[in-house]
């Protein structure tokens, strides 16, 4: 029983050091998993696991999750839980589609920012200014947004060519980058099926063909968010209101301003996630197109321990499973079971080596279950793959809670003048 506690204790003094070491460690882990996937591909013949097409689809699926997750990151770092991300994403999608129809792609992107920001402002006004419960506000925003988007879609898109009461016309796409010759060479290399090298080539091939500028923007925004939040005075203030608003106020930080700003930013990011759906993922707006992606974004952020790098890994993982499922890769999905089994068993051995025998055994047991599942079946139902993001998040919350560090005042209502 005392084992996890001791670990938690150690994390205290060591944290600053281990935080610095984290990116490298995570890169090694990602590289290791990549190699494992490559090995599994060769062993099982599930070639689509790392094909350029699958990886391109995975990136495309990961971007809206990433953007929604970033929205969650900004808001929750300032201490405001935002389950209205889903609604903000819908409004972003609608605004993006409407302005693209009227004035082109650039206006569309700006429109999604505007609509996202407006929806974020609603959440900010209710939670920050009025001090309403954040969950309640989020639920209400999701209800309003779904209705409002459908209502406005009917008002705006009915009668347009290719549009209708529930969907926008087909929209032009933002510019994308293709590096032709390099891409061809990489595809050739990828076709060889070599261990790791071909997989790496596929990844690069996925990145060198038809790479949307919006995709690039999304990844840049992850880095920029991390830099602002952790490397600037502004970010320090924003995080401080999520950790201890009364301490911040006692030092002259305007708590309401930073919370308000963070929540509006949250809406903007979710809105950008929405515009990505209408401009890059699909041909245009249609009702219900987010399908819970806002929640998956939230899940990715929690999975990633309220950090930009972590949420990127979470979004990548969730995007990847979605892509594989949507491509209908029966063998590939089945092969993923083996990957999960091996990862869990390695993790279990690591935990046991570190002294957490009980947790190691639990992890190992789950790993064995996945292994048996792999060995005794031929395919995985698509629904189960769909559950992966949610299950993964629940497992992380249930079994790695000690390692998670959410902002201390997350979800709490703060009233001005409460310092001291």
């Amino acid at each position: 029983m005392s084992v996890p506690v001791i670990e938690a204790d150690q994390s205290g003094p060591n944290t600053s050091a281990s935080t610095r070491g984290t990116p490298l460690r995570w890169m090694l882990i990602v590289a290791g998993v990549f190699a494992l996937v490559s090995l599994v591909r060769i062993l099982t013949g599930a070639d689509d696991l790392t094909s350029a097409g699958a990886l391109r689809a995975a990136i495309q699926a990961a971007v809206p999750i990433t953007l929604a997750g970033l929205g969650g990151l900004w808001s929750e770092r300032a201490g405001v839980v935002n389950i209205g991300l889903e609604g903000m994403m819908i409004m972003g999608a609608l605004g993006g589609a409407y302005f693209t129809v009227e004035h082109g792609v650039v206006a569309g992107i700006l429109g999604s920012i505007l609509f996202g920001a407006l929806t974020g402002t609603v959440h900010a006004v209710t939670t920050v200014i009025f001090g309403v419960d954040q969950i309640v506000s989020g639920v209400a925003i999701n209800i309003i947004s779904a209705g409002l988007a459908a209502f406005l879609a009917q008002a705006w898109f009915t009668g347009l060519e290719g549009g209708g009461p529930t969907q926008s016309p087909s929209l032009p796409r933002p510019p994308a980058i293709t590096i032709g010759p390099l891409n061809d060479a990489l595809n050739e290399l990828s076709a060889k099926g070599w261990f790791v090298i071909s997989d790496l080539a596929s990844l690069l091939a996925a990145l060198t063909r038809n790479l949307s500028l919006l995709t690039i923007l999304a990844f840049v925004l992850v880095g920029v968010s991390g830099w602002i939040l952790w490397r600037t005075a502004f970010g320090l203030r924003l995080r401080s209101v999520g950790e201890s608003p009364s301490a911040a106020e006692s030092l002259g930080v305007n708590v309401y301003f930073y919370k308000f700003f963070a929540v509006v930013m949250s809406g903007i990011f979710a809105g950008l996630g929405g515009v990505y759906l209408v401009l890059v993922s699909g041909p245009g707006y249609q009702n219900g197109l987010t399908g819970g992606l806002g929640y998956i974004g939230l899940a990715a952020m929690i999975f990633g321990n309220w950090r930009p790098g972590g949420l990127l890994i979470g979004a990548g993982l969730f995007g990847y499973t979605t892509a594989i499922r949507l491509r209908g890769g029966t063998i590939e999905l089945h092969a993923l079971l083996l990957v999960i089994a091996v990862v869990l068993i390695i993790l279990a051995l690591w935990q046991i080596y570190r002294g957490s025998v009980r947790r190691g055994l639990i992890t190992g047991g789950i790993g064995v279950v996945f292994g048996v599942w792999f060995a005794t079946t031929e395919s995985v139902p698509a629904e189960f793959t769909g559950m992966a993001p949610y299950l993964a998040t629940l497992f992380v919350l249930a079994f790695a809670a000690q390692k998670l560090r959410m902002p201390a005042a997350d979800g709490q209502v703060y009233r001005k003048g409460s310092a001291g």
């Binding site: 005392s2 506690v5 001791i6 204790d9 205290g12 003094p13 944290t15 600053s16 490397r231 600037t232 005075a233 320090l236 203030r237 995080r239 401080s240 950790e243 201890s244 009364s246 301490a247 911040a248 106020e249 006692s250 030092l251 002259g252 930080v253 560090r405 902002p407 201390a408 003048g417 310092a419 001291g420």
Partner: protein
């Protein structure tokens, strides 16, 4: 009014802080009115007053957290309007709050530079400056350490560092010693004297008179929201200060002749409790309380008092030991524990022993334990519920509030009326929410409730903390009456005079252990204080 004390010359120069005619009201209450005093530059100036006299409100006004309704503040001769803490910081005022204002998940550096990032940035320059300050004052702080991993003493140093980092010349400390152990108090005082000698002006708020007299150059006394005198610590006695604080009437806790019986009511044997990290917060506690006895537990706060209460009422699990409650039969129908021999109606001396070690809090309370909790807002009342519902709290299973899974609204209401009358709870009625009552009236209601249902044991943790003088006297009376009626009482208090005045026996709790037993008839505050700090022990 007692002796008028002559103000004497004190070290220090010009007036750093001049407060004139400050008033502040909240709905229904005047927190401050006509507060007027001067603080000289380069001195340590103490502000003392009873709990609730308006000290903290005044300090929040001085730091710009709350605006005053009337009056003026001059800082270094300049009239200043403080609209927010930023204004105060800009004017060179820093504040160390009683409840530390620190973000646990941030590093020392981040906590210190927050809000003042322009001074040295948030990077290496700031880090170097923090190291420099930390070394200069012997704080021993690592800028990159997470505040979460710091102890109380170090946290306070981070708070002081925050103030120094901003170059504050006027430093306000609100009850800085409340959470410190004696060694830490000494270190803090040394730091404060050092700061004063460098020319800082220190405003020191406290109600611990001995401390105040040892550290302050001047003392201003606040009573009922207003300043009543400024005195010289060298010539004033604690007694005189106390009289200034409460006016001339000084209630005194004192017991009459002993009512201690030989009937054991509560016994703890070898009780130990570990916290989440496995550290023992209570170790090998053995104690016995008899019917009609008040057992006082003395100790510096944070030495296991809270845990002792929670262990007895079952909110904390024991890591070892047993807790037994003896009641007069038949107290409890289900007849838990020994003494099942059906010897008819209750007789004096027919005692039932209940091994409570593994019982739930509810079962323990049903056996007849009343609790006056340390933190009444958190543990004693439902602030936004009406009084009659608060009557039910803790008595859900017992008449007249409930029986057999049902709640009796009528019974609870009627009994609330009784409590309000018997215990002089000043309230418009039983439908008033607990929040609307003053602290003293809330506490009287709690005392009345916990005395209901014929308890065998009363646990009173800081029963008069934060209540006015009148309520304090009433609560002391109720405890004395309970003792006369044969209740066993465990009294935990930081107020040594309260302990000495009410207890039949006093035990001292130090670092989770009982380190001494004293006879209150003979012991002095000084002797107890020595035992509480671990400097000596007695048996």
């Amino acid at each position: 009014m007692s002796t008028v004390l002559k103000k004497q010359d004190v070290p220090g120069g010009d007036v750093a802080v001049r407060v004139e005619g400050i008033g502040k009201r909240f709905p229904g209450v005047i927190a401050n009115h006509d507060v007027t005093f001067d603080i000289r530059s380069g001195t340590i100036h103490a502000i003392v007053g009873e709990n609730g006299a308006g000290k903290s409100t005044l300090m929040k006004i001085l730091y710009g957290v709350q605006p005053p309704d009337s009056g003026t503040i001059e800082l270094n001769g300049v009239p200043t309007k403080l609209k927010s803490p930023s204004d105060a910081i800009a004017a060179g005022v820093g504040m160390v709050f009683q409840h530390f204002q620190l973000a646990d998940n941030l590093t020392v550096l981040e906590n210190v530079v927050l809000g003042d990032e322009r001074r040295h940035g948030i990077g290496n320059k700031a880090r170097a400056r923090i190291r420099e300050l930390s070394a200069a004052y012997g704080f021993g702080l690592d800028p990159d350490e997470l505040v979460q991993s710091l102890g109380v003493g170090k946290r306070q140093r981070v708070e002081i560092l925050k103030v120094l980092y901003r170059g504050a010349r006027i430093i306000i400390l609100d009850e800085p010693t409340a959470v410190l152990v004696p060694q830490e108090v000494d270190a803090l005082f040394a730091n404060l004297r050092g700061l004063r000698d460098e020319g800082h002006t220190i405003v020191f708020i406290s109600h611990k008179l001995d401390e105040v007299r040892s550290i302050a150059d001047e003392i201003t006394v606040i009573r009922r929201g207003t300043t009543v005198a400024t005195v010289d610590p060298a010539t004033v006695t604690s007694r005189q200060l106390a009289e200034l604080m409460v006016g001339s009437e000084l209630p005194s806790p004192s017991t009459e002749e002993s009512t201690v019986t030989d009937r054991v009511t509560l016994s703890l044997e070898n009780v130990s409790v570990a916290d989440v990290s496995g550290r023992e917060v209570l170790s090998g506690i053995d104690l016995t309380v008899h019917a009609g006895e008040v057992l006082g537990i003395a100790g510096v706060e944070g030495n296991g008092q809270t845990e002792l209460v929670e262990a007895i009422i079952g909110m904390l699990k024991l890591s070892s030991g047993t807790i037994t409650l003896y009641t007069t039969a038949p107290q409890d129908k289900s007849g838990n524990g020994a003494g099942g021999s059906a010897d008819g109606p209750a007789r004096e001396g027919a005692r039932l022993a209940h091994d409570m070690t593994n019982l739930s809090t509810r079962r323990r309370r049903e056996l007849g334990i009343g609790v006056i909790p340390e933190d009444r807002h958190r543990h004693g009342v439902l602030l936004d519920s009406p009084l009659w519902e608060n009557r039910i709290l803790g008595f859900q299973t017992r008449r007249p509030c409930g029986s057999g899974g049902w709640i009796s609204r009528g019974g609870a209401s009627r009994d609330s009326v009784r409590i309000i009358e018997e215990y002089d709870v000043r309230t418009p009625g039983i439908a008033t929410t607990a929040r609307a009552l003053s602290g003293g009236n809330q506490q009287k209601f709690i005392v009345g409730r916990e005395m209901s249902g014929d308890p065998s044991l009363l646990i009173a943790a800081h029963p008069t903390r934060g209540v006015d003088v009148g309520a304090q006297a009433a609560i002391w009376d109720h405890i004395r009456r309970a003792r006369r009626e044969g209740l066993a009482v465990v009294l935990i208090s930081a107020d040594l005079d309260e302990l000495i005045g009410l207890s039949d026996t006093i035990k001292v709790l130090l670092r989770g252990r009982l380190v001494g037993t004293f006879d209150p008839q003979q012991v002095t505050s000084e002797q107890l204080g020595t035992a509480m700090t671990g400097a000596g022990g007695a048996e």
